[in-house]
Structures are given as C-alpha cells and as structure tokens.
Symmetry: C2
Subunit: 477 residues, 2 copies
C-alpha cells in the first residue's frame, strides 16, 4: 500500500511529483499500449463532473449531441490540405477488417471535421437549417512519441463541437461564445484562472482561420492549452462543398467552427492545485466533497461509528458527496490517504466530539483545523466550500500573475525565462521568422495574443521592428 | 422535406419500414464507412436518456466508471482461446501508427475483458480489494458484413461492466443482479417486456461459463437480444493470472463477470413501439415529452403564439421537456412531423382554445384526442403519462404473449414458425446437434432457457429424447 510513502516534492522534481501523484492517487495508470492510458475511477469521476458541467452549458446554447463514426476513410481526410498536413504524422491506420485487407485504409479520427462536413454537404440545403450546432463526446487518436498521463496521450477522451453558420460574423461569435463556456467551467468550477486570446498563425489548428485558446499556468510555470475554439471560415465548407440557399435564394458556402476540450483538463487541474501531500480538489468538482473519519478505541467503537454514520446520512441528505471511512487502519493513515486523493473537507469524530456533540473539520487546501458544534455544520459547510472555492481560484490567480513578467528586450526575455521562469508579456513584430527563432533559442512559444493585451507601441523583442501589442510567451506542455 | 411522404407500412415490408423510419425521423444515418452509422441528435438524445438511467442504477450497486484504451495488442486477445476464436473474424486491425508500421498489430476493442484482466492481474492482491466493480461507456468495433442501423453495426456505443469476486456464488449473484438492472430499465422506462434466462452453451458469449440475456419480441415477431450478462467463472482469471490472497492467506483465482448493453437498445425501442406513422416513444424515455402546436390565421397569430409560449414555460417549469413549434408551415405538417418523431403528447392551441382557456391534447400511442381546461393540465398530464407508459408496456406484453406458442412436435414447430411466426416454447434434449439441426432447417435458434420455464417432462421436438423443461426458440436479429 502506498499510504505511507511520501510523494516526491514539487520543488525537487515537478515531473516526477506529477507522475507519482497521478499513479498513487489512482487517477490513472499506464496501459500495455504505448501512449494510451487507463483512467481509473477517481480520474473518471472527475472527468464525468467536467463532462456534466460542460454538457449543461453547451445545451444552454442550443447545441445538440451526435455521434459520428470513429473510422474515417483516408481520402476524406485528404480533402483539406492544411488539415491533412497537420494530422498525417499522428494517424493510427486500420488496414484490415473482418479478416481481410481493406480496399482503402481507414484512420481512427484524430478529430472529425472531415467526416462531419462531408455528411452535411448533402444535407444542408437552406438557411432555415442554420445554424447547425452539434457536439460529440468521444475518443480520438493522435500518435504521440512523448506522452504524459492526461496531458498528452495517443488516445484521449474529449468533446468536439462543430457548428455551421450563414455569415462569418455568426461563426466568429460562436467560436468566442464557446471559449467563454470553457472559461466559465474552468474558472467557476475548476478554480483555474485562464488567459484567453487568439493563436498566432503558426500555432493555430490545422486548417483554421482563427484559433482561440485558454492558456493556464501550472505550478512549474509552464503553460497548458486547456481548451480551444476555432473559426474555420469557409475552409471546410469549400473543401467539402457544404452550401445552402440564403434568404435571397443564392447558393453560398457555410461558415464553420469547431471547439474542443479533453481529459487533458484533469491533468491541468492536478498541476494547478495539487501540493506535496497530494491532490487538492475544488469542492465544486471533487468526486467526494467530505470524508468522515471516526476515531476511537475498540471499547467506544460502536458509539463513535454510529455517530459517524448518522452524520454521513445527514450530510448526504443535504446534497454533499460524503464518504465515511470505517477501515480497520490507523486514523493517521486515513488522513494521508484522503489528503492524497484531494477530498476538500475532512471531518474527524472521536469520543470527545461525540460526547460534546462536536466535530473537528480540516480543510484540505490550507490544513486549517477547527472544532465546531455538529448542529452548526449544515450552516457552516456551504460557506466553507464557497470560501475554499474562491480561495483556490485566487491563489492560482495570484501565483500566475506573480509569475507573468513584462520584458522589453531579448536579453531580459532569456534571463527571466531561465531564472524566474513563468509567462512573458513581450512585443513581437508578427513575423513567423522571429516566432520560430525565439522558439528554437528558448523553447518558448507564443501561447496566445491575449484579449486583454491593450494596444501599445513597442519593438519586437527579437528583431526590434515595430509592434502594436504585447503577446504572451511561455514554455508549454 | 420528408414531412408529407408516408412511410412504408409495417405489414408491407417491415425491414423497409424500419430503415425508412430511422432515416426520416432522423434518429441515425449511414456513413461513408461501411457498417458504421451516424447517430443524429434525436437518436443520441434517446441514448443519453438510456445511459443516464442505466448509469444511475449501476452506481446504486457500487459500480464505478473507468476508461480502458480502445487499442488492444493482438497477443493479449489471444490469451483466452475461446474468446479470441469468437472475435477473430470481426476484428479491425491497426497496423500503422505515427507514420510507421507497428511492431505488433493492435486491434480496436471488440470488448475489453483481456485488457482489463491483464491490468488487474498485477494489481489485485487481497480479498480486501474485492469485489472489484467497474464499468465503461465507450465505442467498440466488430466487423459486420450485414448491417442494420442500430441493431447491427460495425461500430457501436455501449457500456461494458466487469467485476471480480472472491467466490463463485458472488460472481453468479452479480451476473444476475445486472440482468435485473437491465430489465428494470427496459421494462420500467422503455416499456419493453423482456424474457430473461440463460443461453444454451452454443449461444453463450465467447469464453463465458454462463450467459444470461434479455430477449425481446419486436413487431415482426423476431427476437432481439437486448442485453447480456456473463459469468466467466475463473476463465479469464486463469488465462491472465488474476489472483488474490483470501482471508486464510491462500492464493486463489478471482471469479469474474461482464455485462453489456448498447445502442442496439434504440433499435429495439423503435421495433417494439413504432407504428405506421412513425416513432412512438414512452414518456419516460422521450427526448421531447410534449409538443405545443399553435394554430391560427395571421390575424390572431400574436395572441395564439403568446398563449402557446406561456403554456410552454409553465410546463417546462413543471419539469417536462417541451417544444413549441412556431414554424411557418401548415399545422397538419407539424402534426405529421411530431408524430413521425414520436412525441408522446401534442397540445394544440387555436383561437377557440385561447378564448375558452382550453387546450386540445392528442396522445401519440392511441391518437386519443381530448379538450381540457388549461388550468387542469398540471393535474392531468402526470396521469396521462403514467397511463401511457403502462399502456405501452401492456400492449407490447400482450403482443408478445399472443405470439408465443407452445409447440410439441417438429412438424408443429415448423408450421407455427412459418404461418404464425413468433416465439416457440418447445422441449429440447440439450444436445448441440439438435440445436444445430433445428437452426439450419428453420433459422430458429434457442434464444434463452427462460427463468420462468417450469420443470416439465417432455420430449425433444427434434429427436424425441427426454427433456426436463421447455426452452424459447425464435428467429433473431
């Protein structure tokens, strides 16, 4: 049992800490297929919570769920040139089916734009059918050489939304709207602060006109692209011939978007909030919000366990997810165990508490301990959780802001990146060559051109040419 | 638009009726990959409802969700001889990944026993970890030559539950428990009556010791196997070396089960309840329970539409899924359209109704029409839906029982099967050869040895040898 083995410290080896934590907290594990992971009950429960919240928000914007096949004929994928170029190196190819070699190889979807727009090419006829707003929850496959549990795996679970519109303005509005939905779920439920903005032309999605993303700083100061939303303009509709008759009875190509978020969010959640003792889960996303640990000698066991069971039922009736831990192991091992698994609130009940009708509360994120009357619990807990949720967000925001630096020369850029790490707000001339040179010399990429980046006259940190606004650089996962 | 085109009648060509209905009601469609289907919003919404209900029931029995990789090394699949033999002809094989030929081919899971028990072989150590109760919602791939939308497709969506137990009795109990869960969802929510029982040794799942199933009669009198639950005994635990130390500190192999249900359920739902005008959906599973159709000339439009909108909000607040249809087409076309899509209750509101504060209700399954006071609606609708739910189940049950025949000779067997069609309760000696001969001569297979089949002395309809109970024969999808 891993209960007593301490985790590697974040400050000693962040990558090792992360991997150990994912494995020990039993979020996920490696599989016999390289690059593919097994998502264990705790990890999947977090994903289910994310799914439920996202899906509710999608449906509020009139999106309907569908399911398109996982297998896509290679020829379909090849219809949009940039798209196939972007995904070709990562494809998993099915060459045999039902005991025979296939006439045409099929790829397991790396994403579904091609099969979706091929389908609607025949079916969209009129502006009355627009906007088309669909989404699917599914697995996708992108062959990866270097993988990291949750953050980068060959197979991952995600949702991919796809929409078609009559006008470019509507498509743009939808792409931004969905970025806003992601931001809401990340910030309000997962307590993850996000930079939002548009990708540089080299960093955008294969085939997109504009790619928007949420960029998150994790505790080793690197960036994680947590969700993306793309405006494809008429790229796919022209490649697949998706047209409609507008109100003036003219045939036009539709404007499409797509937007995605994946099990990568679980890795992001861990990297933003967890500490050297284990996961730290925000109350609004935790699988188990409260764990009750009864503490007693064998003499008083029944009395203490009964009190714990009663409290468990009361809290469950109040709508919390609660677990009482009656295992026959030392309380301190239970503390370790539930701290490792990130349960937001621990309630300890011993003979002293039972006698005094009290309970001792320990908050996971701060370790703060307080003894309160049991009768007060139903009044206290909502406030504790609200405060914890707010505090976790604020702490992550403060951490991010403290490690986001304004730099004004390439020398400063390199020094800050090497010594302080973090995100850099720097001027950039807009050229691919400066972006590429900075990347090859520092490993930092343009994460996003943030929406909140005010117009400001300056000089590109690399070439000195004029620049109109700062962009956000960072090393990224 | 398909609105005015009548469906083929069930009595004229059941298969054609079914396919037309799936396509016209926009439940699903064909895809460019042979055998793989596109599940459209209405079809997926029904699947989501089934998923939600099943998942709730699973979790009540302590099952936790997980996700194992879609790709399985061929060598893993080969570890259990019967299992690989059963699935080999149906495999989709990935031979290339990331631009290179793979050292070992990977198959897309046809089911996940092998990858799951390989994983737990290393991780199960003690009786304290048992029972292990997991489930996953995912896609699977089984190459099919003859496909039928929802009922038989190369790729389908399903859940597969897998459990491990310390004793054979617990495994058997779990296999039966999950069959009960399926039956509950089918009978109570989908209004589908089920025969439940055990499979003959030739019809059971590849590698199982006992396979249990729910068998449903659809309107062309054929059987659909709607869900299955398998007790594998120690088959997989021995093939994969899944052992644990029991309370006496002895190393033993675990006993495993698996149980599955799929998007096939949506096809079953259609084939059981739909009629010549379209889908007929039970209120507890329908995507939209109530459609409101405002009927007015242009002069009174605002007044009627306002009343419809007000009613829509009221009913939605009462917890129903409601849609008001404001499209600019004739009311009769709206009627056709929503009948085609199976909405349980239609509420018509015209100027007459608005003036009298009334509403006209039309029930989808019977066509029964009644005009009631709007103020009474909130009191009336729960009863209407409860009655409709019960009535749909009873009607399907009566249909099934009226077409299930007791036959006592092979001559009678053939005659009834050819002339009356339906299910046959017949004596069978228990031999594979009689089962095979009956199948090759009549196409009827043993669907199940029903739990409610009382012990009864008789003679095998085929060979005349003694038999102890009747089994259920039918032609099946």
């Amino acid at each position: 049992m891993a209960i007593n083995q301490k985790l590697t410290k974040r400050s000693d080896d962040f990558a090792k800490w992360y991997n150990e934590l994912i494995l020990k907290s039993e979020l996920a594990d490696y599989s016999p297929v390289r690059g593919c992971m097994i998502i264990l009950p705790l990890g999947y429960a977090l994903w289910e919570n994310v799914q439920r919240l996202m899906d509710q928000e999608f449906k509020k914007t009139q999106v309907e769920n569908v399911y398109f096949p996982a297998l896509i004929p290679l020829s379909l994928l090849q219809k949009e040139a940039e798209h196939v170029e972007g995904f070709s190196p990562q494809l998993a190819v099915v060459t045999h089916g039902g005991g025979k070699e296939l006439a045409e190889p099929l790829v397991i979807r790396p994403t579904s734009e091609t099969i979706i727009w091929q389908y609607y090419a025949d079916r969209l006829q009129s502006y009355r059918q627009l906007p088309l707003l669909i989404n699917q929850w599914c697995n996708v496959m992108r062959w990866e050489m270097r993988t990291r549990l949750f953050l980068r795996t060959t197979e991952f679970l995600w949702q991919e939304g796809h929409t078609a519109h009559a006008t470019p303005a509507e498509a743009e509005e939808r792409a931004l709207m969905m970025l806003g939905v992601y931001r809401k779920v990340l910030e309000e439920y997962m307590a993850i602060p996000c930079y939002q903005g548009v990708k540089s032309s080299q960093e955008k999605f294969a085939g997109a006109e504009n790619s928007y993303s949420l960029e998150v700083m994790v505790q080793d100061f690197k960036a994680v692209q947590a969700a993306t939303s793309h405006n494809f303009g008429q790229r796919f509709s022209k490649a697949f011939g998706v047209t409609f008759l507008n109100e003036q009875d003219e045939r036009q190509h539709v404007y499409t978007t797509s937007w995605g978020s994946s099990t990568r969010l679980i890795g992001t959640l861990v990297m933003v909030h967890a500490d050297d003792r284990g996961l730290v889960l925000p109350p609004r996303i935790a699988r188990t919000q409260i764990v009750i640990v009864p503490i007693s000698d064998s003499e008083n066991r029944k009395r203490v366990f009964d009190a714990a069971g009663k409290l468990e039922n009361t809290l469950r009736e109040q709508g919390y997810t609660v677990k009482a831990d009656y295992r026959d192991i030392k309380p301190v091992h239970k503390f370790y165990d539930w701290e490792l698994r990130g349960v937001p609130l621990r309630i300890e009940i011993g003979l002293k508490e039972v006698t005094a009708e009290e309970a001792t509360l320990v908050q996971r994120d701060t370790g703060k301990k307080m003894t309160v009357r049991q009768a007060e619990l139903s009044e206290l807990i909502p406030g504790i959780f609200e405060e914890m949720q707010r505090r976790m967000f604020e702490r992550a925001l403060q951490f991010r802001d403290e490690h986001t630096y304004v730099v004004n020369s390439f020398k400063e850029f390199r020094e800050v990146l090497e010594e302080k790490k973090g995100f850099l707000r720097a001027h950039w001339c807009g050229s691919n060559s400066c972006e590429n040179d900075i990347k090859s010399e520092t490993e930092a990429t343009i994460r996003t051109i943030p929406f909140d980046s005010e117009p400001e006259t300056g000089e590109c940190v690399y070439c000195g040419k004029p620049s109109g606004r700062r962009v956000l650089f960072a090393k990224a996962y």
